[in-house]
Symmetry: C2
DNA sequence: TATATTAATCGTATTATTGCAATGTATTAA
DNA sequence: TTAATACATTGCAATAATACGATTAATATA
């Protein structure tokens, strides 16, 4: 108990839930929005802009990276993050299919 | 510590993260997909179809309901769930705007 | 009324998440 | 070489999430 039973769900369901979980935190949404707005790589100015400690930001970045939503490269002494196009488009597709499956016709409740 | 600092983020960021969190579990994705496929209300056959205990399913349904993604009405002895159109469309819009903010041009990392 | 049926709720054990101070690790600059 | 800069990691404490057995509440049926 206390552990998600991944084995009883499909790979697609598990994969989508992982991506959603990675985004399901206001700090990580803020980070992604910040990356999207600048449209180019950003470095560690996130710590100043968001009101969280450096260790906390670093941890959120790691989660986004582990989920494959962003990628980072070392740029001298700092690190440069940007969107991972492959995963981002995959998610756009999967989520789009999922959300648009609702045809608002038959309201029954 | 251990508590998300909602107060430092915008209402939109908090709202979107709440919706995403509500969906970010394979069981809840499976439940939503089941509701979407049948296009009409379904009741407690979820317990048989997914491999989870009745208490667990009920809890997941409650979370989806609290997030506003589904709604339920009592139908005799059973309960009938379906998509909440208002929240669903709100999420489609918000998520769509968020995801499509990425223009895959400037790859820099 | 008594008894199923259906689903919500409670209690509990286990695991995950969040946040941060402290520390570690490279890289750059002096 | 030494000091500074920029992040990553580690370790810890607090809170949240997951899952389920047991119980409760409400409705339907015999």
């Amino acid at each position: 108990m206390g552990l998600t039973k991944s084995e009883i769900f499909t790979d697609e369901q598990n994969q989508l839930s992982q991506l959603l979980k990675a985004m399901a935190h206001p700090a990580r949404i803020a980070i992604l929005q910040r990356i999207l707005i600048s449209n180019t790589c950003i470095c560690g100015d996130l710590v100043e802009e968001l009101g969280l400690a450096q260790a906390t930001i670093s941890q959120h970045l790691k989660e986004l990276k582990t989920a494959g939503l962003i990628q980072g490269t070392i740029e001298g002494v700092s690190v440069c993050y940007c969107i991972n196009p492959v995963t981002w488009k995959l998610m756009e597709k999967q989520l789009g299919a999922f959300l648009s499956a609702y045809k608002g016709e038959a309201h029954c409740c």
